[in-house]
């Protein structure tokens, strides 16, 4: 729940600034990153197995997120939200100096065994598909339509519905 809570707090801080109690959908992780002072790039030279990376170097204020330009927009959105999760976790820990996350897609990584990866994935799901918004729309049986509303892939939407026990 901690990742979900952190994601919601970020939404309140950087996305729902017009005094509304519900987030405008789809949530734009690129705009949120920019508000946090994080530069987001798409890179055509990233290896196919790398979906994205987050890095910050000592002495430089702004961290940067680099996404694989060959990925679909929805995939980039999720990766960007995932990297934001790493950033928020690092910020909470007060990490300084240089650090870097390189996120790969391979059989091991898809299991999401590392605690920081589990956190980042839950954070990304909570950011792009806020719990209450998903619950409010869960009566719609059309997963593809829901996925379109939230700006995520149908697989990510289905997984979120299952996780929230709404499927």
């Amino acid at each position: 729940m901690e990742a979900e809570k952190d994601a919601w707090e970020l939404l309140e801080k950087a996305w729902m600034q017009d005094g509304t109690s519900r987030p405008h959908l789809p949530v734009d992780p690129f705009a949120i990153a920019r508000k946090l002072g994080i530069q987001v790039f798409v890179d055509f030279g990233l290896p196919a197995e790398v979906s994205g990376m987050l890095r910050k170097r000592s002495g430089y204020e702004d961290p940067e997120i680099i996404l694989n330009a060959n990925d679909s927009r929805n995939r980039q959105r999720f990766t960007c939200a995932h990297e934001l999760g790493h950033y928020i976790q690092r910020t909470k820990e007060g990490a300084d100096g240089s650090w870097e996350y390189v996120d790969k897609r391979d059989p091991l990584s898809s299991q999401g065994m590392k605690p920081e990866e589990i956190y980042a994935n839950k954070f990304a799901a909570g950011l792009l598909m806020p719990r209450e918004e998903v619950k409010a729309r869960a009566s719609d049986p059309n997963v593809a339509s829901l996925a379109l509303d939230f700006g995520v892939s149908a697989d990510a939407m289905r997984f979120r519905l299952e996780n929230l026990r709404l499927a």
Partner: protein
């Protein structure tokens, strides 16, 4: 979830050749990612440009047709005049 991945965090300094955030120019093959709003604006701009091109084409077509119409009117007047003249000559 299909989007999980391995994270490799490191406190080591990155290679000196790596671009420095906010200092170096964006390396080739890398672009600043657009927000949804920017993509929508860009898409609207492209849409507007396409519509402007279509309007310009239609205006050219209209001008061409107007010119043809004017020529046709002139030709008709001329043909009418010749026919009248021919009738007068035949009558005489």
């Amino acid at each position: 979830m299909s989007d999980e991945r391995v994270s490799d965090s490191s406190s080591e300094e990155l290679p000196a050749s790596a671009p420095k955030p906010g200092v170096d120019a964006t390396p080739p093959g890398r672009e600043l990612a657009l927000t949804d709003a920017e993509i929508e604006r860009k898409s609207r701009l492209v849409d507007l440009e396409n519509k402007e091109t279509a309007v310009a084409k239609l205006k050219t077509e209209v001008d061409k047709l107007a010119e043809e119409l004017a020529t046709e009117k002139d030709n008709r007047s001329l043909r009418y005049g010749i026919a009248i003249a021919a009738l007068v000559v035949m009558t005489l």
